[in-house]
């Protein structure tokens, strides 16, 4: 007899998602499926729209990570019109993107991830939230996070009008420049963000490195997945969120591919399964061979840990030091330890904050030269950048008037969808034995997908609360035997 465990609702991508875990007669985990249950059809209904309107339409794909969509779209327009943005425009775009990274990474970390290991993964769920975190650490972290988030969102508002739905983004530039007056407070926010980033890493070290139990969990097989990794790197192979080439490393860490993202179709395949609305990406040259890791796998992961795994280092000096110390602790590169995504996320937030500082100090930031008007329509444009959760690709084709005729989008959670299924399966196999699923163990399984921050999580993580989670255990007729639920 097979019974079914449903984890629902979980995280958002294009809509809502759920995880189904199947148990065999002994109550051991047989398989797990991460399903995305909504499809909104952007790739179809954007046809007929003027290309330059795309950066104003695509943020609606996700109100939690709208900035990366707005910007990948803008970069696709650069390519479509064969134009390089002016140096100042590029600075302003990166200011926007890095401000987004800082606020997004911290909200995820403090409200969603940190309670697990600062308060303890199998502690009382009533304490396992940001309030418990504050009690444990003894400072008002919640207030600080709200503060850093607010300040960074002010920068986004200045540049793009609305943080939840950034506007503007034009081929070759940005619609609005920065003044010297504004530079001053941008600089203050940048300094504050760096200071906060160091404080966050300090908390992480105290909570994890000084806690043998937790470190053991991070390094355990239950949270390990042997896959390829993908992410953007600059010409020195350092982590870059905004531009560069896509690099793929194999499970041993060796370079498997380094390519211009405009050629993504030769490298990335999207497989369709009847049980999910999401298309499952994989390395095309290896070919789709199902949901498994290790030998023969064609699956790769994206996002914070993946970016660090594919790079040879960080873009900024303080982040570089942290990068080295992380791999020392994890026992070398690449790291397959899914829980290390959290650590990588904090190192990235530090890089984003340092990069904000660098931009704020750049004399070119306030130049009036914000648009390159030398546009030549090429009828095909591909934009790619690193969204907070991983590689994001926008591909547009147009008619001779620049009206969209085709759209292809590959978003971060797509690359990670198959690995998420696998990660949950592994953790569930390690912790769920028999139909008596205990609350703490449930959380241990949940911890397997939280590192990916698959975007409703994007939204849930924004609140001092628990991830909503229910596990229904049913017999083979689908009748409910028991329901485990978090209050």
């Amino acid at each position: 007899m097979t019974s079914k465990v449903t984890i629902n609702p979980i995280t958002r991508l294009e809509g809502h998602g759920k995880i189904e875990v199947f148990l065999d007669d002994k109550g051991n985990v047989e398989d797990a499926y991460f399903q995305v249950v909504e499809l909104r059809g952007f790739e179809r209904f954007c046809i007929g729209r003027p290309a330059e309107e795309m950066p104003r339409i695509v943020p609606n794909i996700c109100g939690v990570c709208p900035t990366p969509h707005n910007m990948a779209s803008t970069k696709a327009l650069d390519d479509l019109y064969g134009v390089e943005p002016t140096p100042t425009a590029k600075l302003i775009r990166q200011l926007h993107l890095n401000a987004f990274y800082v606020e997004d990474h911290y909200v995820h970390f403090f409200f969603l991830a940190a309670p697990d290991f600062v308060v303890g993964p199998d502690s009382d769920p009533a304490l396992r939230n940001v309030v418990g975190l504050v009690n444990k650490v003894g400072i008002d972290i919640g207030g600080k996070v709200i503060d850093v988030r607010k300040k960074c969102r002010e920068i986004i508002k200045l540049i793009a009008g609305k943080p939840c739905h950034p506007e503007g983004g034009l081929p070759g530039g940005v619609p609005r420049g920065i003044t010297e007056e504004e530079r001053k407070w941008i600089k203050e926010t940048a300094d504050y963000s760096v200071e906060f980033a160091r404080f966050a890493l300090e908390i992480f070290k105290q909570a994890v490195l000084d806690n043998k139990e937790y470190l053991k969990l991070v390094l355990s097989d239950a949270y390990k997945l042997n896959t390829y990794y993908m992410g953007l790197v600059d010409e020195n192979k350092r982590v870059n969120f905004y531009e560069g080439k896509l690099r793929v490393v194999d499970p041993s860490g060796a370079e498997y591919a380094l390519f211009d993202y405009r050629d993504y179709i030769s490298h990335i395949g999207e497989w369709v399964e009847p049980w999910t609305y999401i298309r499952l990406t994989h390395l095309k040259k290896i070919g789709w061979n199902g949901l498994h890791d290790g030998k023969g796998t064609s699956l790769y992961r994206v996002g914070p840990l993946a970016r660090l795994n594919v790079a040879e280092g960080m873009l900024t000096p303080l982040a570089q030091k942290e990068y080295e110390s992380m791999y020392d602790t994890l026992g070398g590169k690449p790291s397959h330890h899914t829980l290390a995504y959290h650590w990588a996320r904090l190192i990235e937030a530090l890089q984003a904050a340092e990069h904000l500082q660098r931009i704020a100090d750049d004399p070119l930031l306030t130049s009036k030269d914000i648009r390159n008007m030398d546009l030549k329509l090429k009828r095909r444009g591909i934009g790619c950048l690193e969204a907070a959760r991983g590689t994001l690709i926008h591909h547009y084709e147009t008619d001779e008037r620049g009206i969209i005729t085709k759209v292809n989008l590959i978003v971060a959670t797509q690359h990670n969808a198959a690995p998420i299924s696998l990660s949950v399966k592994k953790a569930a196999q390690a912790f769920i034995k028999g139909p008596e699923v205990k609350e703490g163990l449930l959380n241990m399984a949940e911890m397997a997908f939280r590192p990916y921050d698959p975007c409703l999580a994007c939204a849930t993580h924004a609140l001092p609360g628990e991830m909503p989670l229910i596990v229904n255990i049913r017999d083979k007729h689908g009748d409910l035997i028991r329901s485990v639920q978090r209050d």
């Binding site: 958002r12 909504e38 179809r44 909503p468």
Partner: protein
């Protein structure tokens, strides 16, 4: 005063409306003093069956964001309607369909075809399409079915108030919170925003200049002080309700109408066409043809956020 019981829900939405509620930052603590949140799927672990078990009218206020495009969403809208004293259509998707309603220009079959068969990086030799029921070796997996058309909340159930915006601004959210706190809600049916147009609150210089050409946003660098429409950019300000603080216009980008039509205006597109006609210099048929040619995507521009309530594509609910 007893604490209010507050519910928040998202249907076909991007999550931005929920995030916008968090953008009130530290004031969220005032809300916590004022109200107990009894249902908020994105943030709290209350399930549908909890709501089902509540007595009718036991929720004081429900802020409902997102459009309606599946039977599940319609079912929850009806359930929350009967449980709530006051149902608020929150955000442009719930009020007018929003960007998801651009899907009304196409069909579900076309969307599936594009996503699973045509997309250039697909590897789909057997032309598999996602199914509502699938057998896998271990058992059965299900997916919900989607409607062909995207509907507004008010097309499905009666609604007391409308709060427009993609997303509603912090000021508007605080306005709603204050009205609740002081028990001073406006008459039923009201839209909580300005009654005037966006042009009325925009401080760009209007010089009553005529235009002889419509430009697309990438084609010119507009003067930062002057009215965008008078520079030939299609700005929807005259056909759009005020209340956002002219956010887009402030970053030199023309309005796309996310606050919906102003009070007394039935159709946003029709209103905009009359604004353009009144400032476009025409001497006969040729010029009118030229103008029409320069309007490259009227449907997707005039009804960017309002397809579900437009004259063009006002659809009736369609069950699948």
């Amino acid at each position: 005063m007893a604490k209010l019981k507050l519910a928040l829900y998202w249907a076909a939405a991007c999550g931005g409306c929920d995030v916008a509620v968090l953008d009130i930052n530290e004031k969220i603590l005032d809300v916590a003093k004022l109200a107990d949140i009894v249902f908020w799927p994105i943030a709290l672990d209350f399930k549908y069956h909890h709501v089902e078990a509540m007595p009718d009218k036991s929720v004081d206020v429900c802020l409902f964001n997102g459009a309606i495009r599946s039977s599940e969403q319609e079912h929850i809208a009806k359930m929350l309607r009967s449980k709530s004293k006051v149902l608020v259509s929150f955000g442009s998707c719930a009020c007018f369909g929003g960007i998801p309603a651009l899907a009304n220009l196409t069909t579900r079959a076309e969307i599936m075809e594009r996503a699973y068969i045509e997309a250039p990086s697909n590897e789909n030799p057997n032309k598999t399409l996602p199914q509502t029921k699938v057998s896998v070796p271990e058992g059965e997996l299900t997916l919900p079915e989607l409607y062909d058309n995207v509907l507004t909340l008010a097309q499905v159930v009666p609604v007391e108030y409308f709060v427009p915006g993609c997303p509603p601004t912090v000021d508007l959210i605080l306005k709603v919170v204050n009205a609740l706190a002081t028990n001073s809600l406006p008459p039923v049916g009201a839209t909580i925003a300005s009654d005037k147009t966006l042009c009325d609150e925009c401080d760009r210089k209007k010089e009553k200049k005529m235009i002889s050409r419509i430009y697309r946003t990438h084609e010119i660098i507009p003067d930062p002080e002057r009215c965008l429409l008078e520079q030939g950019l299609l700005c929807m300000g005259s056909a759009t309700r005020g209340g956002c603080g002219a956010l887009c216009v402030k970053v030199n980008i023309p309005c796309r109408g996310c606050f919906g039509p102003p009070a007394g205006v039935f159709d946003q597109g029709a209103k905009l066409v009359s604004s353009i006609a009144s400032i476009y210099q025409t001497n006969g048929k040729q010029d009118i043809e030229k103008m029409v040619n320069e309007l490259v995507d009227p449907a997707g521009t005039f009804y960017r956020f309002g397809m579900s309530v437009s004259m063009l594509k006002r659809r009736i609910p369609q069950k699948t």
